[in-house]
């Protein structure tokens, strides 16, 4: 396989086959929290793509230049990565507020919200720390920075895709004649389960 098709497979594998929300069930809080309407879930998806890309590249670099050379990465990666992601998001928020108020308004509250999202930490860790990336694609022992970025882009686009699909379904559910005992969150959970089945069907393809 050429390098390009390998990266394409990596992207598809991350976005669809191993969809972070619907087959791996990481980062479910925004999946239920902000999927009420398409507008807000779009803002959330944008913010997730943005933050995940920033977080992955930052943690990859910090792993390479600080944690791995000092030999402390094995037990220090979680606090270090959380520290990096949190301050990165803070920085981005300040920068956006100054330079692009429009973008700041559209991402709004979602930027600080996903600082503590488990999906962001999971993908940052998988990208940066060797041995955490488990997808069955023939790559080296650890991801290069380019591969890490493609992988992160795939995951975050998959996140946004699943979130938007689910938000669209929930908007329809608002109008559907749902029994009152199932109305609201219960029917949302059932819908998420059915949606997840569709994605799990792909898992034969280089699944985890």
């Amino acid at each position: 396989m050429t390098a390009v098709s390998q990266l394409a497979l990596l992207f598809i594998g991350a976005a669809l086959v191993n969809n972070i929300l619907l087959t791996r069930f990481i980062g479910l809080c925004p999946f239920f929290g902000v999927s009420g309407n398409i507008q807000t879930s779009f803002g959330m998806s944008l913010a997730v793509v943005f933050v995940m890309m920033m977080a992955s590249s930052a943690t990859w670099i910090v792993w390479e230049i600080v944690l791995a050379p000092l030999g402390v990465g094995e037990f220090l990666y979680i606090p270090a990565f959380i520290l990096i992601i949190a301050s990165l998001v803070q920085f981005v928020e300040m920068y956006l507020r100054k330079s692009s108020p429009v973008l700041y308004r559209s991402m709004g509250i979602y930027l600080p919200l996903i600082t503590t999202n488990c999906a962001v930490l999971a993908i940052a860790t998988e990208s940066a720390k060797p041995g955490f990336f488990k997808m069955n694609i023939a790559l080296g022992a650890s991801l290069s920075l380019g591969e890490a970025l493609v992988y992160t882009l795939g995951v975050s686009v998959g996140f946004g895709f699943a979130l938007l699909t689910f938000a669209a379904l929930r908007e329809r559910l608002e109008l559907a004649p749902v029994h009152r005992l199932l109305a609201g969150s219960p029917i949302a959970f059932l819908t998420a389960g059915l949606l997840s089945l569709a994605y799990v069907g792909l898992s034969g393809w280089f699944g985890l």
Binding site: G71, V72, F91
Partner: protein
């Protein structure tokens, strides 16, 4: 060995922490955005209940718009004059008169209104209204199944024994939800009036006087007695219905006295609203099935 590892761990985290905090603190200075202090101050004066009566999404959004001078100091409907004065002081402008509004009902018929057919369906005004315009003969009056009572988020509306909604003006915030929920709100059965509206006409009928007299004993018969007797030229019969001009009305109560149908009530927060609402409420017609039977 362990000591070295601990030292390395502490060193690694300290390096990361120092670098990020240095970057953040310089960024905070470099990307500092001036936020108008008055936004916080105005937000503190506002009730903060995000009731939405003013039509804006939240109290904080109102604060931002007030400071940006997109809204006047008296933008808060629920807060009243006190909040308006507070905002006016912060913004350095006059508070302005607060045009507080309350809900009112223009019908005195209720359970005593003549029925045009027996209705055994869902006890909802909206459903009944869709069925041939509702079971009551007057197509302008109150159907009386209490959609407004259920819709009111402030518990300010109660259906009384006449089958009419009585609005507790102490609780009414003027949000207007009852008017939107009432199937006849569009034709002003329920209507938002100025808070200090002293009188209210308990009739909404626009059909022929003869027709409405057959439906209801309390309707406005367009006799123009109130129009003639009003000392301040504030009440006029327009399209066969008495209409009060609240800009001119002084609340003297002459129209309430002279109305032969007793379909004008004293109203407004100045009066004992609950008592006043029940004042003119007897209907001589029997409740019978079948029009005029």
């Amino acid at each position: 060995m362990d000591i070295v590892l601990i030292a390395k761990a502490v060193g690694a985290l300290s390096i990361i922490g120092l670098v990020t905090s240095a970057v953040l603190s310089s960024a905070a200075r470099r990307f500092h955005v001036e936020v108008d202090e008055r936004v916080e101050e105005v937000a503190a004066v506002l009730p903060g209940s995000n009731c939405g009566a003013c039509g804006n999404p939240s109290c904080f959004a109102v604060a931002e718009m007030v400071v940006a001078e997109e809204l006047p100091a008296n933008a808060c409907v629920a807060g009243g004059q006190k909040v308006a004065n507070g905002i006016g002081a912060i913004m350095g402008v006059g508070a302005g008169e607060v045009a507080a509004i309350v809900s009112s009902r223009h019908c005195g018929g209720g359970a005593s209104c003549i029925r045009s057919f027996g209705y055994a369906g869902v006890r909802s005004c909206a459903a009944a209204h869709k069925l041939a315009g509702g079971p009551i003969a007057c197509s302008f009056g109150c159907i009386g199944f209490g959609d407004c009572e259920r819709a009111c988020p402030f518990d300010a509306i109660a259906m009384d024994e006449r089958g009419l909604p009585v609005i507790d003006l102490e609780k009414c915030t003027g949000c207007g939800i009852c008017v939107r929920e009432c199937p006849r709100g569009q034709i002003h059965l329920l209507e938002m009036l100025p808070e200090k509206a002293p009188v209210v006409v308990r009739c909404n009928a626009h059909d022929k006087v003869k027709v409405r007299k057959g439906n209801c004993a309390m309707c406005c018969i367009a006799c123009k007695k109130c129009e003639r007797e009003c000392p301040s030229d504030a009440i006029h019969v327009i399209d066969l219905l008495a209409v009060v001009d609240y800009a001119k009305c002084t609340g003297c109560g002459v129209c309430v006295e002279v109305c032969p149908q007793r379909c004008i009530d004293l109203y407004g927060r100045g009066n004992d609203a609950m008592a006043a609402d029940g004042a003119g409420a007897t209907c001589g017609l029997d409740v019978t099935l079948g029009r005029g039977a």
